[in-house]
């Protein structure tokens, strides 16, 4: 999976949650799940090079199975 921003389809926006109080939330960019996968998982973020921690993912409105998968999702990459 690689980072890409499509003009046709919106991707999944990802933020890194603060690990300590007072630390700001960091916007990491917009990504697409691997082919055949309908949402971004912790292992996908790890493959993108992100380290352990908690991330918040915003799914686009036109996501597949919108009724099944919520708009917002917390994803954790374990230590």
């Amino acid at each position: 999976m690689k980072e890409e921003v499509s003009s046709k389809r919106q991707g999944y926006k990802v933020w890194r949650n603060p690990s300590q109080p007072g630390e700001p939330v960091k916007y990491l960019g917009e990504f697409f799940p691997p082919e055949g996968q309908c949402r971004i998982l912790g292992c996908d973020l790890k493959q993108l090079g992100f380290g352990p921690g908690e991330y918040t993912v915003l799914a686009p409105p036109d996501r597949p199975y919108a009724g099944l998968f919520s708009k917002w999702r917390k994803v954790v990459i374990p230590e």
Binding site: K13, N17, P18, Y27, E30, L58, S70, K71, W72, K74
Partner: protein, 322 residues
């Protein structure tokens, strides 16, 4: 309270709307997932609140939108000053009129606020005086604005005052309502006063407002129940479409929904609950409470084993209750 300018700039930089920026905050600034899985448990509630918030944002009420989204997601830690130092928490509510959580709370507070006045007049037994129910209606124009609501309230006030101008010791309480999923603005009034002809009242209403439909009847239940009947729609959602809820919140922005006149005005009675909250003291031992710094996600406070207490503010802000 959010810094709207900063929020708009940050949301723009991230390519999201202000509603998503607000929702993001509620997800990020919680560091405990109390229920073990990372998916949001109440996605439908969040979706509902987000759609209401979007209408508020579009009408320049971003801080209210943020409160609506954050309602009951965070709480504050409270600790009692007794020897055992009991640990408690209280949620942060949005206190908006058309919030499914705060509407019923406002209803309870309004009952507490106005019950002493209604009970007092019921005990008086002034000859010829009864509790009566009046309904004033207005023309449904298909839309509702703050200006319309304000003008309607001025008209109701003028009509009631004119109708009972020759009487003494009368009182009136009224509550603005709209029809379900529409903009049919009307007022239910609970009046304590002498008999008045429906035709006279209708003519008064027509002269003042230009609208003609008025109903009046003797209250069909006794004092406290008549008050509950009057205020019951405060606790009910007037629409099942979030966008309509948002529009109503905009229309009633800075407009009171419940009003008191005559002997019902500013009646505090002997009930101290009208002055201060019962939660200024610990429910376990009665010691004073102190608020600890910070706000936390509710599930974290629940997981800490704290006791829930219902109110954030040490003093009940009566001016909010309308």
């Amino acid at each position: 309270m959010i810094d709207v300018t900063k929020a708009v700039a940050e949301a723009g930089a991230w390519g999201i709307g202000l509603r998503d920026w607000m929702e993001l905050r509620t997800h990020v600034y919680g560091n405990v997932d109390g229920f073990g899985d990372c998916d949001l448990e109440d996605a439908s509630d969040e979706e509902w609140r987000g759609r209401v918030a979007q209408v508020l944002i579009e009408n320049g009420l971003a801080p209210k939108a943020n409160r609506y989204i954050e309602c009951c997601r965070y709480g504050v830690r409270l600790q009692c000053k007794g020897p055992v130092t009991h640990e408690l928490f209280s949620p942060l509510y949005c206190d908006l009129r058309y919030c499914p959580r705060c509407g019923p709370r406002q209803f309870a507070r309004l009952i507490e606020k106005h019950s002493p006045a209604v009970n007092a007049v019921c005990k008086q037994k002034k000859p010829g005086y009864l509790l009566r129910e009046i309904t004033f209606t207005s023309l449904n124009t298909g839309e509702l604005s703050s200006l319309q609501v304000k003008r309607f309230n001025q008209n109701v006030k003028a009509a009631v005052k004119k109708a009972f101008a020759k009487s003494d010791a009368w009182g009136a309480l009224w509550c603005d309502e709209v029809g379900f999923n529409n903009t049919n603005l009307h007022a239910h009034v609970l009046v304590y006063g002498p008999y008045i002809e429906q035709a006279v009242l209708a003519e008064t209403w027509r002269t003042i407002s230009g609208d003609s439909v008025v109903y009046i009847r003797k209250a069909h239940v006794n004092g406290p129940k008549a008050l509950i009947h009057l205020l019951k729609y405060v606790s009910k959602m007037p629409a099942d479409v979030p966008e309509i809820i948002g529009q109503l919140e905009v229309a009633f922005h800075k407009c009171r929904r419940v009003h008191a006149l005559g002997v019902f005005y500013n009646f505090s009675g002997d009930d101290t609950d009208n002055i201060e909250s019962e939660w200024t003291t610990c429910p376990h031992c009665g010691a004073d409470l102190e608020r600890l710094p910070g706000t936390f996600r509710l599930e974290k406070l629940i997981m800490e084993g704290r006791t829930f207490v219902g109110l954030r503010h040490p003093e009940r802000k009566q001016s909010w209750v309308n």
